[in-house]
Symmetry: C3
Subunit: 460 residues, 3 copies
């Protein structure tokens, strides 16, 4: 099918409308948190015992910057592995994330930071907005190469909204712990994206097959993304943990899980190749599964060896998924998952949720200390009557809620995106930058064979 | 015109002379700040209430590292978009910045950190030196591809000096606030660089036109630069703000402005292309204008929506600049601005200065608190008689001083650089690495057609 | 000689065995440090005077992340300069580092963090593990392109073990100061790697010569590595320094030394080329020598000008090494040093050890303050009878111990790696990704001429 891919008015109008709406909403609703307000000076109390260092900024900002790099460079470059979709991978990720963080500040703000008529903005909101957008970047991986930037903006609009609702249900209603977002970010993002791509199924996508692979240097660009995701994942999982030991522990656990995951990914990648050769796709993706799978439990007393075991398993599961599951999903279930997010975020996200539920169930005063247990799980608040096994059950419930909202939401959004006027590319022009980008001279003449039919407005 | 581009003696002698001079000057003038000196231990006072955390290092170092990445990777890779100038973009930026930070430590030290006969070095000096060099990197963008490394070292020597004088006038004499350097770094750097390139006008530059564009992978390298600049800009604008809420607020405002700027840049880029396609030049550059334009006001009570508005406007202005103004400047005013710094640093810098002046003028005790207002603007010091509107006027004065020094300084430095013995390339060899770099085998035979005439010493 | 390079069982079995062993050992030995344990809450003492900020995490985590980037992106991409070895450079570095950090946590833990039957893990252990692996990455540079991933894992296993023994002797028995690891990391890593490559000498390596050079974009990828190493080196040298002024000073000294090193590297690179052209190899490597050479003395009172002098000298020495020494080592001593680690880590490491010994010898109460001197060198502990000159002598002894262990260990490990069943490539297939990696379509047909003979199991 041929759609009109000339976005001259649709993309600018979408961007400008969204941005104007954001300006107005920010004007009405958003102010600074006390820690970012000049009144903070007077509010610190006795100046002899408090210090400027107590400002939340110093606890969170370095982690925030690491997370920020993961969203924009990590996810952006991870998807540049396609030979002729580098501009779009990095550029559209940039666009959707820049829009998404603003919308997330509002949505998450209304749910979590709304005080006296205003959303109060501080560094933790910035981190959470990046987290929320992380789930959109995950879903982007499923539809990569097959959607227009207008579709991506619309998907972001809806997904951020659904994410915030789901997150509110999990964190505030079910009192679930999920600091690194195994459920809220990865499971939700992956199954949302997979559902969308299932709805958007393209039967003739094989016409673009020759572009759905890498070239030598595109794989190296993708490794930039992989490594920044891998290195900064300890910051991701610890960024919004409680100050002190919990944040410290979350970083250590993530570091351990990721390290173990690399070895088992490499092992399986080699074992599954008939000549024992390694596959860049596995190295680029499966090595990260360990970070996803300790997202919920990282701040808990998972223990270093527990983290290694989680990483060990996920490297295996994820690599097996790339080799056997992705082709099966495409051929049997009509789910075309460009980046294999099911293997990197879907399965490891579910594993992470289960690991979190089990770890929470096993929590005891012996391990955490009486004070530590009450403080960590908030059992000293209105959850006084809870115990660890209750916490574990609610953790499990959180997983099912996330999956349900992802599936239902994905269907609705998928149907909306299927409408024919969003400028999506034809099947034979998928995974091709030149549809939406002005190309360098070298490529203008050679690459896009069917340019005319696509780029001229389709006959009415 | 043909110049001798063999730098065998000129470049080594320049580098070694400069470095020897720096060693001697550091030996005579530079010592550690108390916070970096072993005497710090005894100086903390009552050890029960103070902590190691109070060392300035912990307030500034993470921001410093982000700024450091912006200068070396951000600016360096941003300029690799040219198809055959990647070595020089990254390499010369590395060279000039490494020299510039040392000279800036001295120049800024004499003006701001001179105590008891010595310049006292701490982490804040390192940040300020990076800032100063940032303005040189901006100017480098205007002359990129058309100058030799010797010329760049000389330009850096003078520009750092002029920057420091200008900064001293603004910050110390006019008591201007400019934490993110809209005036001192961006406006000054841009108009200085534009003046230099205007003096160095090359009428036959069209002979190198085929190399003054990108190839596919060079644009992806450039996006590495863009993204690290974009992500770390909140650290840039907050790096030397006052501890606590001001630093926190500066980061939030910059984050907001940059996000908005991405959407309007994309909107305009698509709207201005006849087929609605995006242009990588705009995505690489205009998306950053929002960071420039909140440089002055970021730490003030600009409000999150105010930041969005600034970013909104700058994305539009900057993209329009790339499409209409840069060609106009080149054809009508003989200003050849390789990277379009006028659109990314010039105009947004001026907007930033104006936004800063207006925001300062509007400051009131209602918004900042009585204590906050006095403390933030320093009205409790010798500026007791000042009020916000006075501050606003001085802010505006700062802009004009910066422009004046940039223009006069640029003319002088441009004339010096026009001398014929600095090893500058011929018009037909601009934007070409092989003039100054040993090339890989693959390119030696193919790329440089007129190699002989350039690389052999010109006939006397 | 032809070896069987099909790793289908050898690599997976090696990875899985190592990882299972690590899981078991972590289970038996590794627990959280108090700062990462929920009991930390109760242990902080009087809560009026202590704060969450006092958790070690906040002193060390930002530096840890910078070091982490250096190991994985810095070293990984630095080695991508080879035209056809990018996958392996980044990928094998990723693999060996992920294994190495886990093994280092155990080895260093037994020596330094073993309390009440358990290794106690905190952020400082993570940094030290990265440091340890840094020395393996250095050694990897010597054998780059000539070994299989199985060999690398075995080398890592042994080198981490030897590193830890050497580090224990230096830091705990000889009471040497070496915060940035001039001796423990760089000298040890370099001479270990050089000894291994000397044992593994390949007389017919010239058959791969055409691949042992760069192409245009591979050099740009390598600059990503260079710049991240260069920018974050101040974090590297200060990461485990004492809180406060020592950490602050280490960062300043490293910053200064690195800046000076760039100018002299550029000067020599140009001066040593017959047409005055710069060589990317020098810019990528020699510019970093200044960081290596202040590794020991960075936290001492080296003074800013002292740091400049060290950087000045190392830029010259390192560049001279690349031009004259590396070819000499290869042709005369049969040491094939792929990345020239002798110039970047070997010689500068020795210079760093000497600078450290001299600086320690010169330490006086006048410079450090009485309290500062005792506290910095630990003269107030069991070293009460020591003075500065004694410290200096022990520093010098540390250098010789490091060299001795590197040489003896390198010989043993080299002999083990010389065994014929580790899957090493044939001489004509060195520096070639396709031996161990599934390649993109574009390269499958063209690159590897002698694929068959290598990839099929060798005839018995």
């Amino acid at each position: 099918m041929i759609w009109n891919t000339n976005l001259r008015w649709r993309l600018p109008v979408t961007c400008l409308l969204l941005q104007v709406a954001l300006v107005v909403l920010f004007g009405v609703f958003v102010r600074y948190d006390l820690d970012a307000d000049p009144h903070w000076i007077g509010s610190q109390g006795d100046e002899n015992t408090t210090s400027d260092m107590e400002n939340e900024f110093y606890y969170r900002y370095p982690s925030f910057q690491d997370v920020h790099v993961m969203i924009f460079v990590g996810f952006g470059f991870l998807m540049t592995f396609l030979q002729r979709y580098g501009y779009s991978s990095v550029g559209f990720n940039f666009l959707l994330a820049a829009f998404g963080i603003q919308w997330a500040l509002l949505m998450q703000g209304w749910f979590h930071s709304y005080k006296e008529g205003y959303i109060r903005l501080g560094v933790e909101n910035l981190i959470n907005a990046d987290f929320c957008v992380g789930s959109v970047c995950v879903a982007f991986g499923a539809v990569l190469g097959k959607v227009s930037p207008v579709q991506l903006l619309i998907m972001t609009l809806f997904q951020v909204t659904l994410f915030s609702v789901n997150e509110f249900i999990l964190l505030s209603l079910l009192e679930v712990k999920d600091a690194g977002g195994s459920m809220t970010i990865h499971t939700f993002g992956a199954y949302f994206g997979l559902t969308v791509t299932w709805i958007l199924y393209r039967p003739s996508l094989h016409q673009s097959k020759e572009r759905q692979s890498s070239v030598y240097h595109s794989d190296l660009f993708a490794m930039i993304g992989t490594l920044f995701l891998w290195m900064y994942w300890p910051s991701f999982n610890s960024a919004v943990s409680k100050h002190g030991d919990a944040q410290h522990r979350a970083a250590i656990n993530t570091y351990c899980s990721l390290a173990a995951c690399v070895l088992t990914s490499v092992a399986l990648s080699s074992a599954l190749h008939k000549k024992g050769k390694l596959d860049m796709v596995h190295i680029q993706n499966a090595t990260l599964a360990g970070g996803v799978a300790v997202g919920t439990a990282a701040e808990m007393m998972l223990m270093p060896y527990g983290s290694l075991i989680v990483g060990f398993i996920c490297g295996i599961v994820s690599t097996l998924g790339f080799v056997y599951l992705t082709p099966f999903l495409e051929s049997q279930l009509r789910i075309q998952d460009t980046c294999g997010i099911h293997n990197l975020h879907g399965l490891p996200g579910i594993i992470g949720a289960i690991v979190g539920a089990v770890t929470a169930s096993c929590a005891s005063a012996k391990v955490y200390g009486i004070k530590g247990l009450a403080s960590f799980f908030g059992f000293d608040g209105f959850k006084t009557s809870w115990d660890s096994s209750m916490q574990g059950k609610f953790q499990a419930a959180g997983l099912f809620v996330s999956l349900a909202i992802a599936l239902v939401g994905g269907i609705i959004v998928g149907v909306i995106l299927k409408l024919p006027f969003w400028g999506q590319p034809a099947d034979e022009n998928c995974f091709e930058d030149s549809v939406y980008w002005e190309m360098p001279e070298e490529l203008k003449s050679t690459v896009l064979h069917p340019e005319d039919s696509t780029l001229k407005p389709a006959e009415p």
